[in-house]
């Protein structure tokens, strides 16, 4: 175990939608992550604290929380980089309903993925030859640039438009739609373009770029959404989708 440097003052959200921040004192250690801090509170101070995590290494996207006002993946956010004057305020993700303490209901987030036609639609069967995709083709490069989303919900929590417009699909779902739109093997693009052009789709985005600023994978959902705006506008003007 790392050497204890000093103490951290930590405020954690307790309760559901109605609740309050409760203060805890946690030993500060070298290379300590925000998730380490939350885990310390649950294991050593209050075992009733609820939060969500799985992999602890930035792959699963389960552990996002609001840390000192900004949504972050807590397993790979070092305390030293985000603590302000030795203090951390950790709450549930914004724009989602709190279930208890630091755990939010992610259902609307994933339902919007479905609405944006975020599932791959195969164009071939297993009897067909494997599609040959050049890695340096423009479409594949566009898909690759946005494909590393881990569904952590940080962009969704950071987005002003999600906060203002309950119908808005959000940066993650639209980014997923953009990667599939650029996947030559996918056969569902007309329905996908129609879905992201509907009310609450890509055109609701104001390009504030909070998603891009805070995405832990350094993706640029704003650019993906701009691509969707161009593609849906072209499809609409050609009569391929309805307005």
């Amino acid at each position: 175990m790392s050497e204890t440097l000093s103490e951290l003052s930590v405020s954690l959200w307790r309760g559901a939608r109605q609740g309050h921040y409760e203060n805890y004192t946690v030993p500060q250690r070298e290379s300590q992550t925000v998730l380490d801090v939350v885990t310390f509170v649950q294991r050593h101070i209050d075992p009733t604290l609820s939060y969500r995590f799985a992999c602890r290494v930035g792959v699963c996207g389960s552990c996002a929380m609001t840390v000192n006002g900004k949504p972050r993946w807590t397993c790979r956010t070092h305390v030293a980089k985000v603590a302000y004057g030795g203090h951390l305020e950790i709450g549930p993700l914004a724009n989602l309903t709190v279930i208890k303490d630091l755990a939010t209901d992610m259902q609307p987030f994933f339902e919007k993925w479905q609405q944006a036609k975020g599932a791959f639609e195969p164009s071939k069967t297993r009897q067909d030859a494997i599609a040959q995709i050049r890695p340096d083709s423009p479409a594949r490069m566009a898909a690759d640039a946005a494909i590393e989303c881990i569904n952590c919900g940080v962009c969704y929590a950071a987005c002003d438009t999600v906060r203002w417009n309950a119908k808005y699909l959000g940066p993650a779902a639209l980014t997923r739609a953009w990667t599939l739109l650029n996947d030559e093997r996918d056969a569902g693009n007309t329905a996908r373009l129609q879905a992201v052009a509907a009310d609450g789709g890509c055109h609701a985005c104001h390009s504030h770029q909070s998603c891009q600023e805070l995405c832990p994978q350094a993706l640029n959902p704003t650019a993906s959404i701009a691509g969707l705006k161009r593609r849906t506008a072209a499809a609409y003007l050609k009569g391929e989708i309805e307005g």
Binding site: A198, Y236, E242
Partner: protein, 107 residues
């Protein structure tokens, strides 16, 4: 989608119109033109009537779509009511604008 295309298309048209409008303002003020000087050039002019008539029409469409979006996002009104308010706002802008254009081009 349809409203998005209308708003973007009107924005694209507005850009050159606004630049010319600003140039006209600078020209008129830099040359110390009086109201009488300006009216002598605009009255009876089909060109100025067409230019500012088009300007007013495009602004009314562009602004009303924007107001609809603002109302939907920032106020508790329903989409239907936001649409009605936006149409009302657009018509008001159009009437006010046409009155202003008429005042400087009709003799």
């Amino acid at each position: 989608m349809r409203l998005y295309i209308w708003q973007r298309a009107t924005a694209a048209l507005l850009l050159p119109l606004i630049l010319v409008h600003l140039a006209v303002i600078f020209y008129a003020t830099r040359h110390g033109m009086t109201a009488a000087d300006i009216l002598s050039r605009t009255r009876g002019s089909i060109a100025w009537a067409s230019y500012y008539g088009l300007f007013v029409a495009i602004v009314s469409i562009h602004a009303s779509i924007g107001v609809r979006n603002i109302l939907i996002e920032w106020s508790p009104v329903t989409e239907r009511r936001a649409g009605r308010c936006a149409i009302g706002f657009g018509l008001l802008l159009f009437v006010l604008g046409v009155r202003a254009v008429a005042a400087v081009v009709l003799s």
